[in-house]
Assembly symmetry: C2
Homo-oligomer: 277 residues x 2
C-alpha cells in the first residue's frame, strides 16, 4: 500500500474552522455572505444544520440569528442590523477584528491611517469602515505616493498580503514621515499551507492537491508542488483521482486549498489507500 | 578671475551653529566636552568669549555657567549638575532632544525601545539614559536579531545614520513583532552637504574641500568630489592652497566638512579670489 503523508498545514485556516463551528452551533441561522467558497460545504451546512446564506442584509428579519463571516462586515451595516433587532453572531476572524480595532483607535488618536489591501475586498471594506476621512486604502507604493499624509501615520495590512509587499510600503513611509506606527496584521495561514506543501512535495513521488479548480490559492499550491514533484495533480473530490497516476509510487503527499473542508480531504485519503500501486 | 561657486549646503549644520551662538551669548562659560572637533574654532571661542572646555563634570563648580553641547548629556549627569547648583545652558541639538524625549515616553508607555546607533557615541549615551532596562542600543541587524523583545517595540536612530541601514532594522522588526513604532530621527544635514558637493563637483573644474585632514566626514566629501572632478583638493586652511592647482581653471567649487566654521571658509574664498589662473 502507498504511504500517505499529510502536509503539516493544509485546508481551512483557524478563522474559517472557528466560523463553521460557530455556524453549526446556531441551527437555522443565516450567514451574511457565504461562509466559505466551497459549495459542498455550504450544502452540508444547509442539510445538517439548516444554515442559510444571504447576500442582502435588508432581507434579514428582526429576531433572526445572523452569522457575521470571517471577513467581518462594515460598521454601519452592523449598527443597522443591531437596530433592527437581528441577533448578530460574530464569527469575524480575530485576525480581522484586530485591524478593525487598530484603525478605529488610531483614527481616534489623530493618526492618518493607511490600509494596505484591495478596496473591493469585503475584509477591507469592513476594516475601512472603522476609520474616518483620514483613513486610506492603498494597493501598492504608487498609490501611497499620491497621498498627502500628516507626519503621524499608522499602517495595517489585509491579512492575506505578502510581507515583502507590506515592507515596501513601510519603507516608503518611514523615509517620508516622522512617526510611523506599523501594525503587522498579516496572517501566516496562507504561507503556512504553501510552505508545508513545498516541503512535502520534496519527499513525495506523487502529490495530490485537493481544492476548487478555479480557486486561486489551490492553483498556487499546485504550481508550488509541481516545482518539486512533477507528478502533482489537482482534484476537486475523490472522484477525480485516477488509478494510473499511482502506478509504481511509494509516497503520496496530500495538500489542500484554504476552502477545502477536512471531510473532503478524508474522503480522498480513504480512496487513495484503496488504490493499487 | 576664477568663478567661485559655494556648495548649496556645506560646513556647520543647524545644531552646531546654534550651539556656538549659545556659547557666545554666555561669556566665561565652560562647555561640557568640546563644542566641535575644530581646534581653531575652540581657540577663537576662548580668545573672544572666554569660553572654556572641560571633560570632567566633577570640575564644574556650583553657580558656574555650563553649556551642554549638541550631543546632549546623560540624564544622571544633568541631575547631578542641577543638584550641584550649576547653571546649565542647554545647547543640545533639537534633533537630539527629540529621540531623548521619544525614548523616555515610549519606555514609560511600556514599549521595548531599540536605539540604532553606536553605544560609545556621546549622543547615544545621552539618548539611552532616558530609557529603562528595556531600552537597547544596536549597531545593525545582527545585534537586533539577538534581542528577545516584547511584541510592542519602538525604534529611533542616531541622527547621523544612513536611512538605508535604519530601514533594514525596521524591516526586521515589522516581520517579527506585532506593533512597531518607528520614529525617523535621522538628520539630513550630513547627506545634504554630500549631495550639494556632488552636484557642484559636476560643474566645477576644480573643487576645494575645507576641513580637518583626519575628519572622516571631510574625507568622505573629498572622495565624493573626486568621483566627479579629478582636480579636487582637501585643505585645512587657506595656507594649504597652491597656486598651481588653479592654472587654466574657470570654475572653482567650494565645500566644507561639518566641523569647519564659516570664517575659515571665507578666508579660503578670499585667498582663491586673488590667485591668478
Amino acid at each position: 500500500m502507498i504511504e500517505i503523508r499529510i502536509a503539516k498545514s493544509l485546508g481551512f485556516c483557524f478563522g474559517v474552522k472557528r466560523a463553521i463551528g460557530i455556524a453549526q452551533e446556531h441551527k437555522g441561522s443565516v450567514t451574511i455572505g457565504p461562509l466559505i467558497h466551497n459549495n459542498a460545504e455550504i450544502r452540508r451546512l444547509k442539510a445538517d444544520y439548516d444554515v442559510d446564506v444571504t447576500d442582502e442584509i435588508e432581507e434579514i428579519a428582526g429576531g433572526q440569528d445572523a452569522v457575521i463571516r470571517t471577513h467581518g462586515i462594515e460598521k454601519d451595516n452592523k449598527i443597522y442590523l443591531q437596530n433592527k433587532g437581528v441577533n448578530l453572531i460574530d464569527a469575524t476572524c480575530p485576525f480581522v477584528t484586530k485591524p478593525q480595532n487598530i484603525v478605529e483607535q488610531m483614527s481616534t488618536e489623530g493618526y492618518d491611517v493607511v490600509i494596505f489591501g484591495d478596496s473591493k475586498h469585503p475584509e477591507i471594506k469592513g476594516v475601512l469602515s472603522y476609520g474616518n476621512e483620514r483613513t486610506f486604502v492603498v494597493n501598492g507604493v504608487e498609490e501611497l505616493q499620491k497621498l498627502q499624509l500628516n507626519q503621524k501615520v499608522a499602517i495595517v495590512s489585509q491579512t492575506t498580503r505578502k510581507p515583502d509587499d507590506f515592507s515596501k510600503l513601510v519603507d516608503y513611509l518611514i523615509r517620508n514621515y516622522k512617526e510611523v506606527r506599523v501594525f503587522n496584521t498579516i496572517c501566516n495561514a496562507t504561507f503556512e499551507n504553501q510552505d508545508a506543501a513545498r516541503d512535502l512535495a520534496k519527499e513525495a513521488d506523487i502529490m495530490i492537491v485537493i481544492g476548487g479548480k478555479h480557486s486561486s490559492n489551490t492553483k498556487q499550491l499546485l504550481s508550488i508542488c509541481l516545482q518539486e514533484c512533477e507528478d502533482s495533480y489537482l482534484v476537486e473530490n475523490e472522484n477525480d483521482l485516477e488509478d494510473a497516476w499511482f502506478k509504481g509510487k511509494q509516497i503520496c503527499g496530500i495538500s489542500a486549498g484554504a476552502s477545502t473542508p477536512d471531510w473532503i480531504i478524508e474522503k480522498n485519503v480513504k480512496k487513495i489507500q484503496l488504490i493499487k500501486t
